[in-house]
């Protein structure tokens, strides 16, 4: 797989003596959908901005498709689509928005855009974006972003404001727009809606990457199952009481494959980081 983003020993801070990212390193490849998770204020949105060249690092290096993002080279920008959490306000109709911005993206596919809008149940392209609800506007922007066919798609909380059916549509559309050349980074808190979509989970904790593994590897090394309160099995890493019972994250000693519960994994990592990291580094070695 082609490496699209290489971040090495990155340092970034908004205010003096308050480092947000320190000695931060991360490699991201084409052909993957990365779920970027972390608590509030960990620097997830800032990381997306650093990759896009919207803020500049104070130390270290970032390479995005062979470009330094802070130079905002147009050839790099035409291969990145960044959808921020809060949307750009415009009174343009969808049709005029497409007329104004699609020409900047050489791989923009108008048919794909129309199909995606239909799938999102946006009936008329004559509708003014300022008159659409936040959710509908977000759908238009997601559809536009997918139709740009940029190599890098950065989505910050894309499912915020979407209703339940739209979240399922979003998953379908993103999956259908993926290919081996493309890399998607989805930063979100709504992890349940990423189930079955992302193939790599990247978790930020204390302003560093504390976990970055493929879903395939996670399945090989961990199981996510319901158990009992009285279970004392040493392979249990984390237990959480839910309405269904006691959800457990366990070391996968049997080779059995279970569905990855991202929320459970996140909570497990927050409470038992050392053990999980050790488990993955042991197996890596």
């Amino acid at each position: 797989m082609t490496k699209l983003i290489t971040i090495k020993d990155l340092n970034f801070q908004y205010a003096k003596n308050a480092p947000l990212l320190s000695n931060f390193s991360l490699d991201l490849e084409a052909g993957h959908i990365y779920g970027l998770l972390g608590k509030n204020g960990e620097g997830k949105s800032t990381l997306l901005k650093l990759i896009s060249g919207l803020v500049f690092a104070q130390g270290g290096s970032i390479d995005v498709m062979g470009f330094k993002p802070q130079l905002r080279h147009p050839n790099m920008l035409q291969d990145i689509y960044f959808l921020p959490e809060d949307l750009y306000q415009t009174s343009l109709s969808i049709e005029k928005y497409e007329q104004a911005y699609a020409p900047y993206y050489p791989h923009f596919n108008a048919n794909q855009f129309n199909q995606l809008l239909t799938e999102f149940e946006i009936d008329s392209k004559k509708a003014s974006l300022s008159k659409l609800s936040h959710g509908q506007k977000k759908k238009v922007m997601i559809a536009f972003g997918l139709a740009t066919n940029t190599k890098l798609l950065l989505l910050d909380e894309p499912t915020n404001g979407l209703d339940i059916p739209s979240k399922a549509q979003f998953r379908r559309m993103v999956a259908s727009a993926m290919n081996r050349e493309r890399c998607l980074i989805i930063s979100t808190h709504q992890v349940r809606y990423l189930d079955g979509l992302i193939d790599n989970i990247t978790i930020m904790d204390h302003h560093k990457i504390s976990f970055n593994e493929t879903v395939e590897d996670i399945k090989k090394k961990l199981t996510f199952k319901l158990g009992n309160r009285t279970d004392t099995d040493e392979s249990i890493i984390y237990t959480e009481e839910t309405i269904q019972g006691f959800c457990q994250v366990k070391e996968n000693l049997t080779g059995e494959e279970t569905k990855v519960d991202i929320e459970l994994l996140f909570n497990a990592l927050m409470t038992n980081k050392i053990r999980i990291q050790a488990l993955f580094s042991k197996h890596d070695n």
Partner: protein, 241 residues
């Protein structure tokens, strides 16, 4: 760093501006024409041009006052140079041309209406194109340099750029005035009159040959505009949102 100039990218940005502001522009220039119709023959063109132009230029980069809009603007795949050229074309060439057109139509309409209503045969007075003080060329050069100041202001001040740019200009002017006063006090002693001192236009300079200033002023203004455009370019390049 690729800072090439692709005319297509400039055209795309202009198209994008007019698509986004089509209705506002029609409304705005209709109002401007109406103002010139009502104020024809008053020679108020310069005043209206300066005030409206400064507001237009100082709001050029208003996108930076709202983070999502700032992100949207910076993510447009065009070079910094192409973005600055587009901004300059809009706030100088486009704005000045439209102002002259609005002035022309307004002046013509106003004078015709006035003559019809008063049954008079007054000549249409084209103050912009005639008279020594209102030469269109010198007006344009002054306008371009002023717009360059306000455009830079809109890049520096993300919130309330109009107000802050005007206050900065006042502060810089007063500072120059004070510095000049003390320099003249040191050089010429107590005979320096405070009231006679204005930055760069003191009585000592006023004594100089008038034609010298007539040549120097447009050159200085042109140089100032170019310098400010370059500064704006670097300011845009280092802009973060």
């Amino acid at each position: 760093m690729n800072q090439s100039i692709n005319p297509n990218k400039i055209l795309l940005q202009l198209k994008q501006y007019f698509l986004e502001n089509q209705e506002k522009e029609i409304m705005y220039w209709s109002i401007m024409t109406l103002i010139f119709t009502l104020m024809h023959q008053d020679g108020t063109f310069l005043f209206i041009l300066s005030i409206s132009g400064l507001i237009f230029a100082a709001r050029q980069f208003k996108a930076f006052g709202h983070t999502p809009s700032g992100i949207h603007y910076l993510m447009i795949p065009a070079t910094q140079t192409e973005k600055i050229i587009t901004a300059v074309l809009l706030n100088t060439v486009y704005y000045f041309t439209m102002s002259v057109v609005a002035y022309g139509i307004g002046n013509l309409l106003g004078s015709t209406l006035f003559n019809n209503m008063m049954s008079s045969q007054s000549e249409i007075y084209w103050s912009l194109f005639t008279g020594e003080r209102h030469q269109i060329w010198s007006v344009l050069i002054s306008f371009v340099s002023t717009q360059a100041i306000y455009m830079l202001g809109s890049l520096i001040f993300t919130k309330h750029p109009v107000r802050k740019t005007i206050l900065t200009i006042i502060a810089v002017t007063v500072s120059l005035y004070i510095i000049e006063y003390f320099v003249f006090q040191l050089v010429f002693g107590n005979e320096t009159k405070l009231t006679n001192l204005l930055p760069f236009f003191s009585e000592k300079f006023a004594d100089a040959d008038d034609s010298f200033f007539k040549v120097l002023t447009p050159i200085m203004e042109s140089v100032l505009a170019v310098v400010l455009w370059i500064v704006s370019y670097f300011r845009l390049a280092e802009k973060e949102v």
